[in-house]
Symmetry: C2
Subunit: 228 residues, 2 copies
């Protein structure tokens, strides 16, 4: 993990709300962002540790997950550039309630939590914006609750595939995660993740070539996703 001090948030200044807001307020000199680079597999933040910084993902992919019983995790979502890592933790709870770790090389921007608080004390819209993102995360988690509890294998995998295609913005995408992680994203075992993938392939619903997945029959996939 290399830490590079920067006077401005170079890699994310075009997308990142925190930077834009601070600029608008003439506070950008006070942000003191630090650019931190994480290697693949490295942990960006850990469940039950203190939230000391707001972290913005500038480049790369990361997974947000919660630790389950005897090493079985559930991946909540995959983070893309410009996502807040720590959004769900900025408020209220002093500790992270989840883990984030790097799926690829990740460039992140760290800003001290006290600076953020200063920002949202002075700027209502910023706080309200954070709130809205917060709110939609909550409803996403509730949907996940139902899926994990009441859908079966095929429905869960269909859901993950649709999620991933929307995330990558294409019906053809290369998985940045392993089959084991696809299982964790669907909250099923690795073996069953593989099994369902091959089923879908044999039924002509998806194309499968190693890490590259192509959604061929979106209609059927949506049906499987909806019915469960």
């Amino acid at each position: 993990m290399r830490i590079v001090e920067k006077t401005s948030c170079e890699t994310c200044d075009h997308k990142c709300d925190i930077f834009l807001t601070s600029k608008e307020m003439g506070l950008e000199q006070e942000l003191h962002p630090r650019q931190v680079v994480y290697k693949k597999y490295e942990s960006i933040c850990r469940q039950n540790t203190a939230v000391t910084h707001a972290i913005i993902l500038c480049e790369g992919n990361a997974k947000m997950y919660i630790e389950g019983i005897n090493g079985k995790n559930i991946i909540l979502n995959i983070l893309m550039p410009s996502n807040y890592i720590g959004l769900l933790a900025v408020f209220g709870t002093p500790n992270y309630s989840y883990n984030v770790s790097a799926l690829t090389l990740c460039h992140t921007c760290h800003i001290d939590i006290e600076t953020i608080k200063k920002l949202y004390y002075h700027n209502h819209n910023f706080l309200i914006q954070l709130n809205q993102a917060f709110g939609s995360s909550v409803s996403a988690i509730m949907k996940k609750l139902i899926s994990l509890n009441q859908k079966q294998l095929r429905g869960k995998v269909a859901e993950s595939l649709i999620y991933l295609s929307q995330l990558y913005g294409s019906n053809t995408f290369s998985l940045t995660i392993t089959r084991k992680e696809l299982g964790e994203l669907s909250a099923i075992s690795e073996e069953n993740a593989v099994r369902v993938l091959t089923e879908f392939k044999n039924e002509g619903i998806i194309g499968l070539n190693g890490k590259v997945i192509e959604l061929l029959d979106l209609e059927v996939l949506h049906k499987i996703y909806t019915i469960g």
Copy 2:
């Protein structure tokens, strides 16, 4: 459902943050709270409908739940007086992502959502307070995700029993919910909820007398809860 117009929020003015904040700001005349009474079983708010009011539960018990596939619901928590109904929905999402319905006769206090927004535009602490409550709800839901997915019958029921005893603040409490609802709270079938209760009773872990449950061996119960 009877609606009674009030010039002040009579039943909740001692506990309710919204009322206290508005008082402090000299805004209490503008709150226009309406006291609304719901009978047992009545729906207080419905999933996927617009959030038009902040609702505070002043008297009675209610259940917050999400609708699953073919009528199988999951109860997220039991609401007690002074709880915000709609806390999780106030921000961002224009629609409720869950249902709330009355378990007993419920007195609630409705305040127009625009009034609330006015309040938190003028009062940072109020917004930050809401945020904190919001944040702890999120970590509660995450814990629930793991439990529902990875624990088995006994662990889930143990969790519900501990939750209820903490809610009622006593090791002996009378269930306001049915066995079917205890099942929904634990995300298991009604039959298995009953079965595990009798098991626990036979093992001397709990005392069971109709609706009255007494937690006898908290240590063992916690162990079952932790291990799953």
